[in-house]
Subunit: 269 residues, 2 copies
């Protein structure tokens, strides 16, 4: 398949997935009784949808398709930019901050990036503020099951990558309970694309399973305190270390779309 | 004077100033009726004092004296590190987040850094969440008055530097109403030190003048909302752009001392 068609297929999938994810969340809001809907914000390189719901206190689902140039310093670390800093990218990214401190925050992203080379990247990771080992096991079992359908090597590799990436060295803390994270995936386009689609579908499934299971649980003021401090760590990670955030803000990306990932509120001791 | 004595004098002043500032704040807390005191936290390279008061919701006053090595990449931008990345530094830094949204947040820092060269740096800046042009004029008039006693060129130069430094490009917003900011100050050690001491004394004076004037004012829920969103911007600035924060966290500094600057809480829309 030529690159033009690959771009088109990937982009169409990400755009479709954005709608599927928003529908899934609106369905949950409806079941819960809040009936809140996403607000659609369009800009020249995509659209980001945001919700302030009864279950999801603050959530964002962004689709983007950007043609641009990597800044010189940033390009050095990017494959296929030796003689040309231009890139094409498309992706979908999601951050969900639930109101209930017993429901973990969820993060998902998949993207297709083209320079002289072309690759997929993405991942799913889960950030609870109250430890639940049963849920942790469940999430990893589900992610492993999905990965294993494609390649037995994926899960261990991508789980490790995730743990390494979502780490706050200054706190000596992980951001959450991990998940999967992959980048520069360019083995076989058709197979990689099938995998990337499966990651997206698994995320839709996990939204439903993880959130519905806990959204009715009662919580105390003390749980909320823990959640607010954990959200402080989320802010620290995103602003200090997240490559997408830092790159986006430094390259004239859409600030509102990028900082859609910020929690509704946070605390520091 | 030899460098050893310069270091000693600077360090002793910063340490003394830390105590003066803490006393000043405790005096205000007493007048207000909260009577809260600073908690003293010692670590191997200094001590940071933190308060959770009735006037200052969250405040920190840190003294440090560090001997270390600049990381290679960072050193490139630092004077006097051509053949040797070692540095000696001492300084005092203050961040005050008042409870009352009508009282601005205050930030102050002065430092003496030695590589093969030796220089002072520092500044005072004010971050209100509710605009008050009279107070803005007052702050700048006071800073100008102090600067002018040393050199008529200081105020315009350092005011401009401050505006440039405390700017959030991704928001196209200034952090606050500015103040003064200076770095690499190595004209004449004795004169520079007198100036640095005056900056510190002026800050002590301004704490009293700015806070006492407004700490009794009534405020509405809407004012608090504005404050929490403004604190979100404060967090963004410190984690995305503040050189001291980023350098400190990347070079194994004391996380709690560095992130003492975080507000007690913040919001994002």
């Amino acid at each position: 398949m030529n690159i033009k068609n690959k771009k088109k297929l990937a982009k169409n999938w990400f755009s479709e997935l954005q709608k599927i994810i928003c529908k899934e969340i609106e369905k949950i809001e409806k079941v819960y009784g809040s009936n809140k809907k996403f607000k659609i914000n369009k800009w020249k390189h995509g659209e980001f949808r945001t919700i302030k719901g009864g279950v999801i206190e603050k959530g964002g689902v962004a689709f983007s398709n950007v043609i641009g140039k990597f800044p010189q310093e940033f390009a050095k670390k990017i494959p296929g930019t030796k003689n040309n800093n231009k890139f094409w990218s498309s992706g979908v990214s999601v951050v969900l901050h639930p109101k209930n401190p017993k429901v973990p925050a969820l993060h998902f992203n998949t993207r297709f990036i083209c320079t002289k080379k072309a690759w997929f990247g993405g991942g799913i990771d889960v950030t609870p503020c109250i430890i639940d080992n049963i849920q942790k096991k469940y999430v990893h079992k589900e992610l492993k099951k999905m990965c294993d359908l494609h390649n037995k090597k994926y899960y261990p590799k991508y789980k490790k990558w995730c743990d390494k990436y979502f780490y706050l060295p200054h706190r000596k803390e992980t951001r959450g309970i991990g998940g999967i994270f992959f980048d520069y995936k360019m083995d076989n386009w058709e197979k990689d694309f099938l995998f990337v689609k499966d990651v997206g579908k698994k995320f839709v499934y996990l939204i439903d399973q993880i959130i519905k299971k806990k959204m009715y649980l009662k919580w105390k003021k003390k749980d909320k305190e823990i959640q607010l401090l954990k959200r402080g760590r989320y802010v620290e990670f995103n602003l200090l270390y997240d490559r997408g955030t830092i790159f986006g803000l430094n390259s004239g990306g859409n600030t509102k779309a990028i900082l859609m990932s910020m929690p509704p509120n946070a605390k520091w001791k």
